[in-house]
């Protein structure tokens, strides 16, 4: 466990010293800030515009961070052969995989915290959101964190056996499909062919379902009259369990692949 933590800490340090990260966060904050301007263009619901745009920006930039930093780190470790010296230490391969993953989550968590603080500030600037909305930002961002943790596990898995460009492409592709896989199932049902229906149903469970994490949006955070949309804690817990299971699956697969790998 100490070794995993040491690797996680080093991974986090690597991202902190990487300029790309700051650029991404800066972009996200600029985008959240610009929602203030956009919010003024609408009538009456600037809070919701700010929240929708802000949560969207956190989600998208979080994904970029997860993909580029996640894949970049693992790839660099292999390509630049830093892994040779590391694996000659009393480090088991699964410890390396888990340490890297934890370090990436650490990075993601810090980034989301910064972006969430920016969003809360933007919301506070309008001064119209109910006090509870700030608290309800936490589960909303928490769900985004879960979805990004899942995306990171995908990125990690792909980068154990593929080039970074392909790994990034695969991850992004699955993230997009993962938002549409309820539609895949519906498409199967509408097709009328039992084979296509079974396929659609199977894909629904096999492809990571990123739709599961879209439980709380701007309306859910605001909870003001007219936008009321209750937060179901059980559904949130279900999404958490789903993320944990899928991540466990992906990490276990990464560990198995990584343990079998030759480092030429």
């Amino acid at each position: 466990m100490n070794r995993i933590l040491a690797i996680a800490r080093n991974t986090f340090r690597e991202t902190v010293r990487d300029k790309i990260l700051y650029n991404l966060i800066l972009f996200a904050l600029v985008m959240i800030g610009s929602s203030l301007a956009l919010g003024q263009l609408t009538l009456g619901n600037e809070d919701k515009v700010i929240l929708d745009l802000g949560l969207g920006a956190i989600s998208v930039f979080g994904l970029l961070i997860a993909i580029f930093i996640g894949i970049g780190l693992v790839y660099k470790e292999l390509e630049k052969r830093t892994v040779y010296a590391l694996l000659a230490k009393p480090v088991r391969r699964y410890e390396l995989v888990l340490g890297k993953y934890l370090g990436l989550l650490w990075t993601l968590g810090v980034n989301l915290a910064v972006m969430t603080a920016g969003l809360a500030l933007a919301l506070g600037y309008t001064g119209r959101a109910p006090a509870g909305a700030y608290w309800r930002l936490l589960p909303a961002v928490g769900l985004i964190f879960l979805s990004l943790a899942l995306a990171t596990a995908l990125a990690l898995l792909f980068s154990t056996f593929s080039t970074p460009a392909l790994a990034a492409l695969f991850t992004f592709f699955l993230w997009v499909i993962g938002h549409f896989n309820a539609d895949l199932r519906t498409f199967g049902e509408l097709s009328g062919s039992p084979a296509v229906e079974a396929l659609g149903r199977a894909l629904y469970y096999v492809i990571p379902n990123f739709g599961n994490f879209n439980l709380i949006d701007g309306r859910g955070v605001l909870q003001t009259a007219g936008y009321a949309r209750p937060i179901d804690p059980w559904a949130v817990a279900g999404a958490g369990a789903y993320a944990l299971l899928f991540i466990a699956f992906l990490l276990a697969l990464s560990v198995i692949i990584f343990a079998r790998r030759d480092f030429k």
Binding site: N2, R3, A6, I7, R9, N10, R13, E14, R17, D18, K80, R81, T82, Y84, A85, L86, L87, A88, K89, P90, V91, R92, D262, F263, K264
Partner: protein, 308 residues
């Protein structure tokens, strides 16, 4: 006592994109390295030296055969507590400073606190990086990275150290430093397994060597023994000679050269040598010297690589 036992170690790599075919990088290598010696692992580029070291570190898994270090299989991570490894052309996280890198590596051994800080300081000084201990590695030259690589291999005070081309990329002064560090390790009883193609360095510090070419072991033993087996004749130097001498000994010599007062002769086998020496003593000539002619390590290498 054997510290490293390699038995019939073989590694195939699959090459080719569509139709993978195996290429044998290492073919049935068997070796033993004894405790406390500096063992040189020699061979031209592509001979399989790095492959062997990676198999020993279990970065690669063997196609067949086995390797044991300190009596444990190569893949035993607990055994890794007691060894150190410098990869070929090492590269470390360039966003770290030497101090941070060594501290990180030390933590992987469960070290920490003041003892780790002390050990890091000591190592940084030992490899000559004290002045740049807090500079990020991205500013480092290849030689400085190489020194740091040696330092990280020693962080856990290992019993066995594996160094893959430790001299490469270093200037003559740096090579001297590394020689000094390696011989220092021997004094502390550490076993060193060192791969290199820089022969003078190997000749200077290794107790025993193994020579590898195209994945096969050519020879193992002390350099002395290996090269003595290849004595190709003797050089005899005389003085006080006459024209008659020249005529008389010419049949036994493959080469006769007059250099002022001295006469340089070359006798290819023992019979010829005895005949020459008999003539010298019988005719009261003055014998200056008799030296075996053995190839230099470079020459031996050349015959290895060109000859096959």
């Amino acid at each position: 006592m054997a510290v490293i036992e390699i038995e019939n170690l073989t590694k195939d790599f699959a090459v080719g994109f569509w139709r993978k075919r195996p290429v044998r990088a290492l073919d049935g290598l068997s070796l033993e390295v004894r405790a406390g010696e500096i063992f040189g692992f020699l061979g031209p580029n592509g001979a399989g030296k790095s492959t062997t070291l990676k198999l020993l570190m279990h970065l690669l898994s063997p196609t067949s055969g086995s390797a044991r270090i300190l009596g444990r299989p190569a893949g035993d991570t607990a055994m890794h507590e007691r060894i150190g490894y410098l990869p070929e052309n090492p590269y470390f996280y360039d966003y770290l400073t030497p101090r941070e890198l060594l501290t990180f590596m030390g933590r992987l051994f469960g070290m920490g606190g003041a003892p780790l800080a002390r050990k890091v300081r000591e190592l940084v000084g030992e490899v000559g990086l004290a002045a740049s201990a807090d500079l990020q590695l991205r500013k480092f030259s290849k030689g400085m990275v190489q020194r740091l690589g040696i330092a990280q291999a020693l962080i856990n005070e290992p019993e066995v150290v594996f160094l893959d081309e430790p001299m490469s990329g270093l200037d003559p002064l740096g090579r001297m430093e590394v020689r000094r560090i390696v011989t220092g390790l021997r004094e502390r009883g550490v076993t060193v397994f060192l791969s290199s193609h820089i022969l003078p360095d190997v000749e200077a510090i290794c107790d025993r060597v193994a020579i590898l070419n195209r994945g096969r072991l050519q020879e193992a033993g002390t350099l002395e023994d290996i090269l003595r087996a290849r004595i190709s004749g003797h050089e005899v130097i005389l003085s006080g000679w006459t024209e008659g001498t020249l005529e008389a000994i010419r049949p036994w010599c493959s080469e006769v050269r007059a250099m002022g007062e001295r006469l340089h002769l070359r006798a290819d086998d023992r019979e010829d040598l005895e005949a020459v020496l008999g003539f010298v003593f019988a005719h009261g000539l003055e014998l200056v010297s008799v030296n075996p002619i053995r190839p230099s390590l470079e020459e031996y290498f050349q015959t290895l690589v060109v000859g096959k």
